[in-house]
Symmetry: C2
Subunit: 193 residues, 2 copies
């Protein structure tokens, strides 16, 4: 299957996921821009998120699971309520904020390398080419915003509401920061059309 | 400058950095294994670390600076003492645990792609080819362990010693986990020699 066919398939998948509410709408504008460039198409991407993750202290594979996830700013009460609900039920929970992460396919290696170089300067410091298939080069680009705090340990809430408030404030600021990077990425993508 | 010359230069740099105590000794065995493979050589790498980072709430560029860094397990008292010392002096400080990150140059693109695919299964989930120059392919591989907690905000310590103890316990467990991945990586590199 050539690049054009793969792209058509990816666009169909995106349309279906959109219908099913599976697409992070904050990143949709960027995905549309990527897909408007003939040599590129978008794969799974996220505009940044704030979530609560179950984890096992042995950190065995497959133990990580979301118990809360939002691609928007959060308010302390909604997280606090959720944590109160989880206390006693879940063994270990982590509060996590992560910056934007995008997967993009390029038809062309040198164009992918140029793109990676450029977006590094826009703040997508991590990532690279993660695979090359016959007709396409798959890139992952990632912004570095991160908050990652254990909040329930051995079924007990280990933070105060005041501290959660501070985590929420910082995480919301970092979401804004990652969104600004997405805006700049959007402007750059416009210039490639 | 061809691959062999670049490799010779990188080895000289590594030797100099070793003399100056700039190399994370926990990762040295892996670097030596990488350098024993004719088509590969090592670039800046880290076996995982626990650190304290200054940060600015505006998250302006260049504001991140280490005030503590160790590539080994830490004990609560040493971090607590450091935090007490920093309280009132530093505006914002983050407690950070990060997994291993390695940069490797390969002479050959398809060998680099094979390597990336293989090490993803060993737990180096993030990373890829970050640049391609005439004679070499530069890869970054990263393990995903992470703890990232604001501990001083507006010059005030915002966590208890008990909570720090819990952060230290988890961070030390995660260091062990990243070291196990490095061991597996070592075995794989042995098989490539």
């Amino acid at each position: 299957m050539g690049f054009e066919q793969r792209k058509a398939e990816a666009l169909r998948r995106l349309k279906r996921d959109l219908k099913e509410g599976k697409v992070d709408l904050k990143v949709l504008e960027i995905l549309n821009l990527i897909n408007s460039i003939p040599d590129f198409y978008s794969l799974s991407s996220c505009s940044g998120r704030i979530c609560l993750l179950k984890f096992d202290k042995t950190f065995k594979k497959g133990e990580k699971k979301f118990v809360f996830k939002k691609h928007e700013k959060v308010r302390t009460p909604e997280i606090w309520e959720k944590l109160k609900e989880l206390e006693g039920k879940e063994k270990n929970v982590m509060f996590v904020m992560e910056g934007a992460i995008l997967h993009i396919s390029s038809k062309n290696l040198s164009r992918a390398l140029d793109f990676l170089k450029k977006v590094r300067n826009l703040g997508f410091k991590r990532g690279g080419i993660i695979s090359i298939r016959k007709y396409e080069v798959i890139m992952e680009i990632e912004s570095t915003e991160k908050v990652c705090v254990p909040v329930i340990l051995d079924s007990k809430l280990v933070i105060t509401k005041k501290f959660l408030d501070q985590l929420v404030e910082i995480s919301n600021l970092l979401l804004e920061r990652t969104w600004k990077k997405l805006e700049k990425l959007g402007e750059y993508l416009e210039s490639l059309k």
